[in-house]
């Protein structure tokens, strides 16, 4: 009995150790986003709260917590409040199977990849429920758009991950990363280059980020599925979106860029230098690069039209992934070194 309680407590401590940095990262991703978009537009971004605006996310959080949660008349009150929770829960649960370093993982399960696919798919229920329960046509339109987009890109994303499976013969994330070790040329990005690009673009579409943010579409449907949300409920949506972004950035680094493996591996002399840096630092560097690319996309690209998004997902990504899967399968059968042995 005592042991079970201690085990549970220990798990809670581990969860806190993962989630607190995630929340901090989310807060500062919003800050980085505003700064970066400002910079590309020749502005300086937030720089008033604290030194160079470093306290801006905290001020934002305080503001959102203090604000009233408005529940619209005619909305389904229970579903209205359940929606944001259903959206954020999967994006946080998914962190449990992420290996941050050799053995540094909360749940080292053998179907980690399946679990991740399942969790990132469940998030869309939160969006649909939120859009429906709001009793607003804009929210409903946004929810529909978001749902169809996530469903469409899930397929291309899944196919891209099948490529990873073919290379690593495992659904366990730790094994997927270990299978890539050697040098940065043996990482999955090289044999799976088109799949990597498709996975990454689908990841941008999955998180409803620019240029695939028709679900928000402030010019036509105000803010999409979360128009009616205010205060903390809105903050939850916001948090979940950014947590998802960071999650997919980490996943891309794990699946295609060798996770915690050092990029200096396999290079004489430099190899020892790379080994002195803890693996988690390499993972964080890789993940923050992808988060940066998310923001960079947002600062660069205009929003896709809805039919263009569907065309890209169904008519381009799915055929390309299937063709490249054939190539990968062939290379795998031929035991093409150094990736497929």
């Amino acid at each position: 009995m005592m042991d079970t309680i201690l085990d549970l407590l220990w798990i809670v401590v581990k969860i806190a150790a993962i989630l607190l940095p995630v929340f901090t990262a989310v807060a500062y991703t919003t800050y980085a986003e505003r700064k970066l978009i400002g910079y590309t537009q020749l502005r300086v971004g937030p720089n008033r709260v604290g030194w160079r605006g470093w306290l801006q996310p905290i001020a934002d959080a305080v503001k959102l917590v203090m604000k009233e949660i408005i529940i619209p008349t005619g909305s389904n009150k229970i579903l209205f409040l359940v929606g944001p929770m259903l959206f954020i829960a999967p994006s946080l649960v998914a962190w449990s199977v992420i290996p941050f370093d050799q053995g540094l993982v909360l749940a080292d399960i053998n179907i980690g990849l399946m679990f991740l696919l399942a969790m990132t798919s469940i998030g869309v229920y939160g969006v649909i429920i939120a859009g429906w329960a709001s009793n607003s046509k804009y929210a409903f339109m946004g929810a529909l758009r978001s749902a169809s987009q996530i469903v469409s890109y899930e397929i291309a994303m899944g196919f891209a991950l099948v490529g990873v499976l073919l290379v690593s013969h495992s659904l366990n994330l730790t094994e997927i990363v270990e299978g890539q070790s050697g040098s940065f040329l043996t990482w999955n990005w090289l044999p799976l280059f088109p799949l990597m690009l498709i996975y990454w673009i689908s990841a941008v579409a999955e998180t409803n980020r620019a240029p695939f943010d028709v679900a928000e579409g402030e010019s036509e449907i105000v803010a999409g599925f979360h128009v009616e949300y205010a205060g903390m409920t809105f903050a939850v949506f916001f948090l979940a979106e950014y947590a998802n972004m960071i999650l997919l950035a980490v996943l891309t680094s794990l699946m295609f860029f060798g996770g915690w493996l050092s990029p200096l591996q396999g290079i004489p002399y430099l190899e020892t230098v790379g080994e002195m840096v803890p693996g988690i630092v390499w993972l964080l560097i890789k993940a923050s690069f992808f988060v940066f690319v998310y923001l960079w996309f947002r600062a660069t690209f205009p929003r896709y039209r809805y039919d263009q998004i569907m065309r890209l997902g169904w008519k381009i990504f799915i055929p390309v992934t299937i063709v490249w899967l054939l190539v990968v399968a062939f290379a795998s059968k031929m035991q093409l070194a150094p990736w497929f042995n």
Binding site: L36, Y39, T40, Q41, L42, R43, V44, L197, W296, F297, A299, T300, F301, I316
Partner: protein, 163 residues
């Protein structure tokens, strides 16, 4: 041919990469933001901001209640009532009010004034906290004029050649 070129440009994401290069370059360019309350943009001497009523150097108010400004005002923002002054019986305004909610800051009042009494200053950042504060009374206008007389005189001098 064009079809093939377009296909290559889009399929291999070349167009998108070019866009990313552009924003990348902009990220490192010099920022043009002006930190407003500390830094301000240069302002023309003809700037048409908040109004003021001026006085002569001996302290006598310039306005002679000719009502030209009231007549020229396209937004009907100016209200003037005139009468003999109690002390010496001179014709002066007993009421001179500008409704800032109506005013469109066209500067016609300033141009029509024969004695350079009503002017528009460089003040553009002000606020109201209560209803009714948008009406600039004679007292308030004169106070602004007294406070910024130096700047107003300098600006009028700068543009006098073009009037």
């Amino acid at each position: 041919m064009r079809f093939i070129r377009d296909f290559i440009n889009t399929f291999f994401l070349l167009e998108l990469v070019r866009g990313l290069q552009l924003t990348w370059r902009h990220m490192w360019m010099k920022k043009i933001t002006i930190q407003y309350p500390e830094e301000k943009t240069p302002m023309s001497p003809r700037f048409r901001g908040l109004h003021a009523l001026r006085r002569y150097e001996n302290g006598e108010e310039r306005c002679i209640a000719c009502k030209l400004c009231e007549a020229v005002c396209p937004a009907l923002a100016i209200t003037i009532e005139a009468g003999p002054r109690a002390e010496d019986g001179q014709r002066r305004t007993t009421k001179y009010e500008i409704d800032l909610f109506k005013c469109i800051f066209c500067g016609f009042c300033e141009e029509s004034c024969p004695v350079d009494s009503i002017v528009e200053t460089r003040i553009f950042d002000y606020h109201f906290e209560k209803r009714g504060e948008n009406i600039m009374t004679k007292g308030k206008l004169l106070a602004i004029g007294d406070r910024y007389e130096e700047q107003i005189a300098e600006d009028l001098k700068a543009q006098s050649a073009y009037r």
